[in-house]
Amino acid sequence: MFELLGIPPQALFGQLLLGLINGAFYAMLSLGLAVIFGLLNVINFTHGAQYMMGAFAAWMLLEWVGVPYWGALIIVPVLIGATGILLEKLFLKRLYHLDHLYGLLLTFGLALIIEGLFRKQFGSSGLPYPNPLPGGTRLDFMFLPNYRAWVVVASLVLCFGTWFMIERTKLGSYLRAAVERPDLVQAFGINVPRMITLTYGFGVGLAALAGVLAAPIYNVNPVMGSNLIIIVFAVVVIGGMGSILGAIITGFALGIIEGLTKVFYPEASNTVIFIIMAIVLMVKPAGLFGTPK
């Protein structure tokens, strides 16, 4: 059937896998944005820079300290998450009573500063990060590299785990309730300001973890975050701001759609996500999974 369309299955499945990988990163990053926006009411423009910092932290741990990939996978999210906690305590905390715009401006400015510092220190050509899982499996229709398979599985586990934690656990019920009525949740005896700080740390840690996962695929580059974050924001808009499940499903779906576009109409592959965004905004302004306010 694929041959009928003039597309060899190798190319089709190759692009599908590439789309799935990209989708995995869209999903992980937009998930963090959704969690942060839900509770903090802040559109975290620093998210891309924090993802980049995650990749760089993995590279530094390997090159400078000799900590391998699997160690970085645990250390980096904690480390970068802690910088997020610091950032929240120093800056973001003071903006919650103001319009979204202020949080957006602050985090956008911080992203520019962080990127500039990394560019000055490491240049912009990028640094290689070795693949911790070389080799792959030859399937009937395509070659499946081990590391890429791992990334897809890891991101699915992360996304499902985060969804489960928020939608199905006691801690998650505090978070969901605090999104609706922080004042009342606090008046029940829950330390909401601390919960907000930790949530931001968690979202940032998630971005950093995505950065570690990305390092062996895309290499480590100061602008890797800003290249990705624009698409991720489109994903968030399409999925609906603040919706956890929406962020996950939209992330993966748009990665795949983008991959398929590369097969069938490569000219549109860079714009297809933004075309979808425009259409969704016209038909459902709150996003596919968002609730209109």
Partner: protein, 236 residues
């Protein structure tokens, strides 16, 4: 009616919403085991008083003492931990939580709270709807959920803000019976009401609030003698 010790003492309480000065020196006391109401018209400052006691209004001054301990500087989560619990007028049922999650949301702050089984006995409707979305319940059921969830925390002072508002008369009667039951169980209750006829069926004393301060106090056994006065206060 009560064992005489003061559970809540509010004095010279002032509170602001932004620039507007809402409470102008509120002053009242609630004894242990008592049911006391704040009566007054819309906008008199009754809800603001409750929120200020609970620490939910950042801009507040004066003194709020619970069992002798000063609360005025404490954040609301610390106040809740001491054993005060608030049931807001708009009920505050969370739409993203189901009934069970709503019911078990407030953490237990002290021992001696009611068990879920005790709560289901008072509100049998809730037990049948545990998996429903909280806001899918009827108004009366939402009110029962809003009160039920603060009974398991071990809080000894309940602040109930207009629990009968917008409910059918038969539900209002149920709520009245429930308040009397809670009093029997030893809870101390501060009740905000606009309807003094309902208040007189449950309360020991009534404070009349106007323009952010208490202007009169009427014990419940003298309410009949003061009906005219009350009606003029409340503009009935």
């Amino acid at each position: 009616m009560h064992n005489g010790s003061i559970e809540l003492a509010v004095s010279e309480l002032n509170a602001w919403y932004g620039e507007s000065h809402i409470l102008h020196g509120m002053q009242f006391e609630v004894n242990k085991g008592e049911v006391v109401t704040l009566l007054g018209r819309n906008g008199a400052g009754k809800t603001t008083t409750m929120k200020a006691v609970m620490g939910m209004i950042p801009s507040r001054q004066g003194s709020v003492k619970f069992e002798g301990q000063e609360l005025i500087q404490l954040p609301s989560n610390r106040i809740a931990k001491l054993g005060l619990a608030f049931c807001p007028e708009e009920r505050g049922i969370f739409s993203s939580l189901n009934v069970y999650e709503n019911l078990t949301l407030p953490p237990v702050v002290k021992s001696g709270g009611m068990s879920l089984e005790d709560i289901y006995q008072i509100f049998p409707n809730l037990k049948e709807r545990l998996k429903s979305q909280g806001t899918k319940l009827s108004g009366g059921e939402q009110q029962m959920l809003a009160i039920g969830r603060i009974l398991r925390t071990g809080a000894t002072l309940l602040l109930l803000d207009e629990p009968t508002e917008g409910l059918a008369p038969v539900i209002v009667q149920q709520i009245g019976a429930m308040i009397r039951l809670l009093k029997e169980k030893g809870f101390t209750i501060l009740l905000v009401e606009q309807n003094f006829r309902f208040a007189s069926t449950v309360a020991d004393r009534h404070y009349v609030v106007e323009h952010g301060k208490v202007i009169d106090m009427i014990p419940n056994d003298q309410i009949d003698a003061n009906t005219k006065k009350l009606e003029s206060y409340l503009g009935v």
